[in-house]
């Protein structure tokens, strides 16, 4: 498929102009605080009012039916403008693709518009103590009751859950079934009766996560996504989306790389070719990721296991880029600031959404066709 970059220039200009006029001059307070969370929610509302919160969605849910290329362009402009972090991203990047694939029309109509408007902020609730990348080891249960399900057990490292409104994730509905079977994918309110949330800090102490304790939390049938017992398949659909471009759009990295080049120009000793080499390498890799993004949206076939290639690449690029920035800052590298926050955030990349070790297994076995390893 041809990508006509010039045809999207009007859209790019609209986005750029709007962002120039609306992006707050001073950074919002951290979205890992109550005050900052509220400010970020207000920003989502502002985006939505301009129909810029979910450009690739159908118009009926709050989007503008943007093409994948337009979405790439939106992301480039968004991050280049230094616009606030997306507090809605768990919903938009993880839950919404799942609903588009497995949700009922009623669910789409009910869930998506308030997600697009920032009225309802979603938290993912997948991991459990002892079950991180190994989803088949989940133990929190969903028990069938009249008209719905009762949730019990514990979830952890639930991103955004400290302040969000609702959560989603797979629960074990049939304890007798095998590891991958008997899971059901559910949505639930975080202020439900019987649900306790305890914020936990990430590496820099900020409460980017929470632990969730479920004690007979009722969820109606209407909030099951896909078929009961099919939670594994539903979750894997989301995982595929996580590993593709959606989770980390190229615009994030091209913007970060440009800022790194700026930092280099401003702070580095130009004679320091060792740093120069790393700054250039980060910029080249961000550009490669961008071009690969154009390539991906040019193709019609499913990306499939190749999304694992993307995930390994962007997550390592992100770490290397931020390590370079910290090294460039020298003794200031350990100090609180945007670069340090970006570094801490980047460190999660090789771990979550399937560790890079698992991704490399997938690449080796499903893309390269190497023999499967005997797994007990």
């Amino acid at each position: 498929m041809d990508l006509d970059l010039s045809s999207v220039e009007p859209f790019r200009a609209e986005v750029r102009d709007w962002l120039r006029a609306h992006v707050p001059a001073a950074p919002l307070p951290s979205l890992e605080t109550g005050e900052g969370f509220a400010a970020h929610r207000a920003w989502e509302r502002e985006l939505a009012a301009a129909r810029l919160s979910v450009v690739s969605w159908p118009a009926r849910y709050g989007g503008r039916d943007a093409t994948p290329l337009e979405w790439l362009v939106f992301e480039e402009e968004y991050y280049a403008a230094g616009a606030p972090g997306r507090v809605s991203q768990n919903g938009i990047n993880l839950l919404a693709p799942t609903l588009f694939k497995y949700g009922t029309p009623e669910q789409l109509d009910r869930v998506l518009p308030p997600m697009a408007s920032g009225e309802v902020i979603w938290a993912q609730a997948w991991s459990e103590p002892g079950a991180g990348s190994d989803l088949a080891a989940l133990r929190a249960t969903a028990t069938r009751v009249d008209g719905g399900w009762l949730l019990n057990g514990q979830k952890t490292w639930s991103s955004r859950a400290a302040f969000a409104d609702r959560g989603f994730g797979p629960f074990r509905s049939d304890p007798e079934a095998g590891r991958h079977r008997g899971l059901t994918y559910l949505m639930f309110p975080l202020d439900a009766e019987g649900l306790t949330r305890r914020p936990i800090g990430r590496l820099d102490g900020k409460p980017a996560f929470a632990e969730l304790f479920f004690d007979d939390v009722f969820v109606p049938d209407a909030d099951v996504v896909g078929e009961p017992g099919e939670g594994w398949k539903v979750a894997m659909g989301t995982t595929g989306s996580e590993r593709g471009l959606t989770l980390r759009s190229p615009g994030r990295f091209t913007a970060a790389a440009d800022r790194l080049v700026g930092l280099w120009r401003e702070r580095a000793d130009p004679a320091d070719t060792a740093l120069r080499d790393r700054v250039a390498d980060a910029w080249i890799k961000a550009r490669a990721y961008r071009l690969k993004g154009f390539e991906t949206v040019s193709r019609t076939e499913d990306v499939g296991a190749e999304s694992s290639v993307n995930k390994v690449f962007w997550s390592e690029l992100d770490v290397a880029l931020h390590e370079t920035a910290l090294d460039l800052l020298g003794p200031d590298g350990e100090l609180e600031g945007d670069w340090l926050e970006g570094y801490v955030f980047s460190l999660a990349g090789p771990i979550y959404a399937g560790t890079n070790e698992i991704q490399r297994n997938v690449i080796a076995e499903r893309v390269l066709g190497l023999p499967r390893e005997g797994k007990a």
Binding site: M1, D2, L3, D4, L5, V261, W264, R265, T273, R276, D277, V279, A280, D281, W283, I284, K285, R287, A288, Y289, L291, K292, F294, E295, S298, R299, E306, V309, V312, F313, E357, Q359, R360, N361, I363, A364, E365, V367, L368, G369, L370, P371, R372, E373, G374
Partner: protein, 379 residues
């Protein structure tokens, strides 16, 4: 913009792949290394028939170019099959000559640039020339006339595969590759383009690369246009080399995956060991992201970003191919380290091409220099 190859371009690549797979290319490589260029020349002619060299030659000069996307598609396959000879050098020379000939009209060739291989079947294509050492001595002559003559004499022959050209562009390309097997050897020295005589040969790690120091002959074409044309030639040569490296890396991955799937150690295929899997997965990741950089640089041909994008591509392709070579060697073990087995052809070439046409560090430096200091002026 096409960010993926279209059906025709893919078919072109596949055609070349089949042609080279059926042409006993490893034998031609070993013959070339042993000083017998004939099988390599035959390969060269087949490639020309398939249209490879015409891609770098303007239509007005008998070519089909410039078609940079098709060119990198072709060079990917040349790398994949370890084709010997001054390939990037010849297309860079075509770019150089086309630039010098541009607007000067395509006149007759220059004597000092005549085909050194006098018995060559295509020697009747040569146009006659005339002595002109005065111009060289004055140092300020215009390149127009002689450039035009040169272009007219050599470009059609390059396009049809009748001319193998070597080219030195010091300091990044200080030696003339395979100059003994070339019909024309050019060297650019500042503002001067000279025909060169091959000097001492030096042995490369890749025995199919015979590197010659050059003694520049008389009768230069000179003037600022030479410098500009040499810059354009360097960019196209580096891009071709980047594509070749991507192909070298891809082939190394292919043969290593195949080997790892069949070779057994400790009672199972070594490709079942996670350590082997992860090394190969990392090679794939590196190659998958070198490809769009090479493709993107080809798309940028003619734009002010071309130099920057070529450098990005050359740096990434060099690193990816070298990682592929290191992994191929490690996974193959002693077989990969053995001259007579084919993996050595690509393992050696990856290392040699990595430092040819500018090192990764030099290209990364050029990227950053374009992004910072030179950005406003260059664009």
């Amino acid at each position: 913009m096409k960010f993926v190859l279209d059906a025709e371009q893919r078919l072109f690549g596949e055609t070349l792949n089949k042609l080279l797979a059926g042409a006993g290319t490893p034998g031609a490589v070993r013959a070339w290394a042993a000083g017998d260029p004939e099988p390599g020349r035959a390969l060269w002619r087949s490639l020309a028939e398939a249209g490879v060299f015409a891609l770098a030659v303007p239509e007005a000069a008998g070519g089909a170019g410039p078609l940079p996307v098709e060119l990198v598609t072709a060079f990917h396959e040349l790398g994949r099959h370890a084709v010997p000879g001054p390939l990037a050098e010849t297309v860079a020379a075509a770019e150089l000559l086309a630039r010098l000939g541009d607007g000067a009209g395509l006149g007759s060739g220059h004597e000092d640039f005549e085909d050194r291989a006098s018995g060559h079947e295509d020697s009747e294509d040569r146009a006659s020339g005339h002595e002109d050492s005065e111009d060289r001595a004055s140092g300020g002559g215009s390149s127009g006339d002689h450039g035009g003559e040169l272009a007219a004499a050599w470009l059609p022959r390059i396009a049809e595969g009748a001319a193998v050209v070597s080219l030195a562009l010091p300091p990044a390309v200080p030696y003339a590759l395979d100059a003994d097997a070339a019909d024309l050897v050019l060297v650019v020295d500042g503002d001067e383009l000279r025909a060169a005589v091959p000097g001492t040969v030096r042995t490369s790690l890749d025995p199919a690369r015979r590197l010659f120091s050059v003694e520049a002959g008389t009768a230069p074409v000179s003037g600022p246009a030479v410098r500009a044309a040499a810059g354009a030639a360097f960019d196209l040569g580096a891009l071709a080399c980047a594509a070749q490296l991507a192909g070298v890396g891809r082939r190394l991955l292919e043969v290593t995956v195949e080997y790892a799937g069949t070779r057994r150690q400790f009672g199972r295929p070594i490709g079942g060991f996670q350590a082997v899997k992860h090394q190969l997965a990392d090679v794939l990741v590196a190659l998958e992201y070198a490809r769009p950089l090479v493709h993107g640089a080809a798309l940028a041909y003619g734009s002010p970003d071309f130099s920057r994008d070529v450098s990005a591509a050359k740096a990434a392709a060099s690193d990816a191919a070298y990682a592929a070579a290191r992994t191929a060697l490690q996974v193959h073990g002693a077989i990969g380290y053995t001259d007579e087995y084919d993996p050595s052809l690509w393992i050696r070439k990856a290392r040699a091409l990595r430092s040819a046409w500018g090192s990764p560090a030099a290209h990364r430096a050029r990227v950053l220099s374009r992004l910072t200091g030179d950005r406003e002026s260059a664009e």
